[in-house]
Symmetry: D2
Subunit: 342 residues, 4 copies
């Protein structure tokens, strides 16, 4: 491979992501058109990586990058995480001080997660999967007989925990429902929330005042078991809890107790242990929509990662700023505790 041309060099080592999941053939061709791509997906060991590191303009993936190694990457302008979680195997402080853009792809999933969350909320409101199961079992109830607990989203009170990409994308989808939307996000000043038409509220008020509660918070030390037993007890009788992000935020034992007691309904997409044990008591609950971690990982989301990478590297090669991937905040990049998806 001749990497001595004038094209900037991009090192591609996407693990635990996979090249062909995020790049369509068209996107990969566009990347090769503009860059000298050193594709190391199938190359074990560090030798080739270290050989090309000094000439790298960008790295796609999240290989180990301590300060020493970063010091050798003298031309490096961008470190692009294509998996969604920032691991501690990179010396981010060193990267920032060297002027390396640390870019993440979290926003690629937000439309998918928002649509899925809305679908789960309507399912909880109306019992769609419950009666689909009933029709398959021959026990369905017609017309209003299975609608005794059904409620509208229209003009309902809504709570959103966490107002990052996911929460904002969801909020946009809720516009036509004329909800009263309370938002709890301790990393945001109230004005950010109020400018979008939401109500900045504390956790207690958000939980106790909302018929629908969406959990879309990032896992950090601060948010661990944010929803413990006492917090869950604040939920209204018959509330709908949509639990999409992240399992670490919730005490599942406390959650199970309250669901067994029929206190509220829940749709659950994330689990403390995945796969969920076969004998998990959640599996048989009638007031739950069960979902095996499916909210974000769809083909269009993966492909948008590849397109974002190509678009932003193209801009950066022109001397412009990236606009699609998200710049990691130096203040926050060490706080995230999301586990990588395996």
């Amino acid at each position: 491979m001749n990497t001595s041309t004038a094209k900037p060099v991009v090192l591609l080592r996407p693990a635990p992501q996979r090249r062909d999941r995020i790049f369509t053939p068209q996107a990969l061709a566009a990347l090769h058109e503009l860059f000298t791509v050193v594709d190391l997906e199938d190359t074990p060991g560090d030798e080739m990586f270290d050989r090309h590191l000094p000439e790298a303009f960008a790295i796609i993936g999240q290989p180990d990058l301590g300060a020493e190694r970063l010091a050798k990457a003298r031309k490096l302008k961008a470190l692009i995480n294509v998996e969604g979680n920032f691991f501690p195997n990179v010396d981010y402080a060193a990267a920032f001080s060297r002027g390396v853009r640390v870019l993440g792809c979290g926003s690629a999933y937000s439309q998918a997660v928002a649509e899925y969350s809305l679908g789960l909320a309507i399912d909880l409101a109306r019992g769609i999967s419950n009666q689909d199961g009933a029709m398959r079992a021959g026990s369905e109830k017609y017309v209003s007989e299975s609608n005794t607990d059904a409620v509208l989203l229209h003009r309902a009170t809504v709570g959103i925990l966490g107002y990052g990409n996911l929460g904002r994308s969801l909020h946009r989808l809720l516009q036509p429902f004329h909800n009263t939307v309370r938002i709890y996000d301790p990393w945001l000043p109230p004005a950010v929330i109020e400018d979008t038409g939401g109500i900045a509220a504390g956790l207690e008020e958000t939980l106790s005042s909302s018929q629908f509660v969406y959990v879309l918070a990032t896992a950090t030390a601060d948010s661990a078991h944010l929803l413990d037993g006492p917090a869950l007890d604040l939920l209204q009788q018959g509330a709908r809890l949509v639990l999409v992000s992240r399992a670490a935020v919730v005490d599942y034992d406390a959650l199970l107790d309250r669901l067994v007691a029929g206190r509220f309904l829940a749709a659950i997409d994330v689990w403390p242990l995945e796969p969920v044990p076969h004998d998990s008591p959640f599996r048989g609950l009638p007031n739950v929509v069960l979902s095996p971690h499916r909210a974000g990982g769809i083909t269009q989301a993966f492909h948008s990662i590849g397109e974002m990478v190509v678009d932003d590297l193209t801009l950066m090669a022109r001397g412009l700023a990236p606009v699609r991937l998200q710049a990691a905040a130096p203040e926050l990049v060490g706080r995230y505790r999301n586990k990588p998806v395996t």
Copy 2:
């Protein structure tokens, strides 16, 4: 019961609807406050009805009202259908010529149907009830493994068949998805559709150009089996068909063939025969969301009927026009072929 007071007389004979399903205690109290209500729900026979007919200001329900009987209702100003379908047991022409408002409650269901339709569409797009069933059976697939066919609603092509109350309510909910929305409604001039941002299109174009197709058409002689085999063959491979209104619009044999062949996915809420036979081959199809006629009949919809009745009778008693119930069109009231729900 003394009905000789100055309050206008309202005859209440809501069958096949039920008084306590549509009137909350508060709404019923408000009705009694303003009107002398002759409640005939539990009074069999016509004697009492005919006795009070000459003094009736309004009738709630749809008792037999031929021209002769209407001629006796000299003070009648409103005939209020609280069930949703106009039966041919009323001489509507005679009612119109006598200046009687014929009012329907169809719009009471439209928000409920629109939300349910959107929920079905997201379910079809993302396999929510399919994987809920899988988790209950212990056969779920995690993360992207069960997402191979998943698609976004965002920026998808959408077709809506029928643009009455239901179609318009749904269209409003779709605004944040930035869809290209084609609408087929042969009763509407294109300008009505285009003013809402939709594209007025023919049936063929709507079916063949849309990833999501919502069937929200009224059953009439013209729309019977609108979706027959050749029409269904226009759908794209992998299209999502949301079938909510009305069963008469679709040829279910042709539909079954194409679903068995895996041509597309469908969510079905209305059925040619209800209850659906236990051995119906639809019950086992993996690419279908099964729903036992549940889209509209929820408590909030029923209660809104009662509120609409009270609001509009209040206006009419003040000499104003009704604004919540829908005035039946003389041109159309004989065309509807929806069967009453039993």
Copy 3:
């Protein structure tokens, strides 16, 4: 002219409207294609009108139609007002009892009025025409110096008086501003307003709680001088009053007093006497945007009347209901007191 063909006959006598203002050549051609049009715009006297009346399917315009004359119009199905105001020269009750659709074109103006009203509001908020005048006089002030009173629409409190076509069209345009919108309309039950996200409020609350107040009310006996001195005194210091419809609703002497005193700002498009007298003291007020009755009467609005007429007559000739023009309410048609525009 041979009017004995099978095509339905339409009598066209549009005064005080003019044929060529509402019908584009294309629309007029479409009308002639489907109907035998008896064009009486330039035919004085009643002879020709009365000769064709017995065969008329529809009348476009508002000629004198007493009960006797209507009795001769045995085939008449539609009486289409193309000017905007219902005059008392028609026996509307007789028309209704004969099953004649009485249709109005008021909605043709609503988008134009809504956009103009929003433009006036922004002008009042930001002083656009004031500083345009200043630049023409060489007395402008730059940057923030002329912005001391400037306010945002974003998140402001808004009041709308009258929630017919005009008010609803305006409300839609306000969606992105995240306003708190209070609506006063005594002909509507609160639920109609609340379903749109507005707050149903009384007149006093609407006036005293709103930074921007839009007057879009119909003139009736009830609404005459709705905004008299005491009502205007409820407005906040510095409020913005957008007065578009109708002059009869406001006491202009009281309004002048308060504007001279600098209590609030106003944009005024309707006037008790038009043309406004040359020495009207309104003409020199700095806190007023002056407008000579221009909100609705633009070419696109006029042309949409013609298109609505063609669309609805086409539907009615097919036996369907009209959907674009508005059916006059028998209860209300006699209440309007708007003067025709001359």
Copy 4:
């Protein structure tokens, strides 16, 4: 002044901005509550500034900060520009390499500019300030007589040049108008534009296909005289040009020629020389709305700068990332050529 407490030190030297224009008393009190504020607004010379620099956590303003001076600012975490334009008196590269957040306040103006731009567009569409002037001169024309050129915004074609904060804020306000919106921004990949429902287009297509064109571009070497004579000739006859940002983008001689010829209409808020010369030929043009650089600088915008500063410094003092002010892009901060407002 005792700055030895544990509170982080903030140096306040806001020129050319003014402290009391951006901080309300409440905001200033909040700033003092959390920080040791060294207020240098009224302190000439560098002595005090240099004395406090080594302990500064943040600097509000844009004093000269070469690499040498920055090297002394060992605790500096944020350099906050509160005027809107980045001057070249700071060694931004040095700041970035030291991990200093360089934050701008441009977004504070975007709602004000967007609302003003919409107001100008409606004025151009409807002649509001033109007829306000006519009424003051006694030469107004009533009803449709002054509306011959009036057009709706509804469903019009729209072009936006520049899709930064200003363009996006405007685009949100246009949602209810159902426009076809073409957007030209050479710094953005098409996907960013298309995700918002816009059409990513080239300059020529945007100019030639749009009835309304909004100029909201940043001044850079690339955008200088973007709208020269040949570009302006692409505009449609009768187009509406809203020119808000920046004067350097337009060739005003070429613009004047075309306005004198009546080719199109324009609203102009920015000028190559301000104040505009008294004898400027623009001042007398009837097809122009004249505005003395007023789009952004309103009280609410200025106060939001102060609130953004307090909010973000509060977050940063907690170890979190700023979310309201905009992080300057290292790639772009040297490119801007906007002159400071004097």
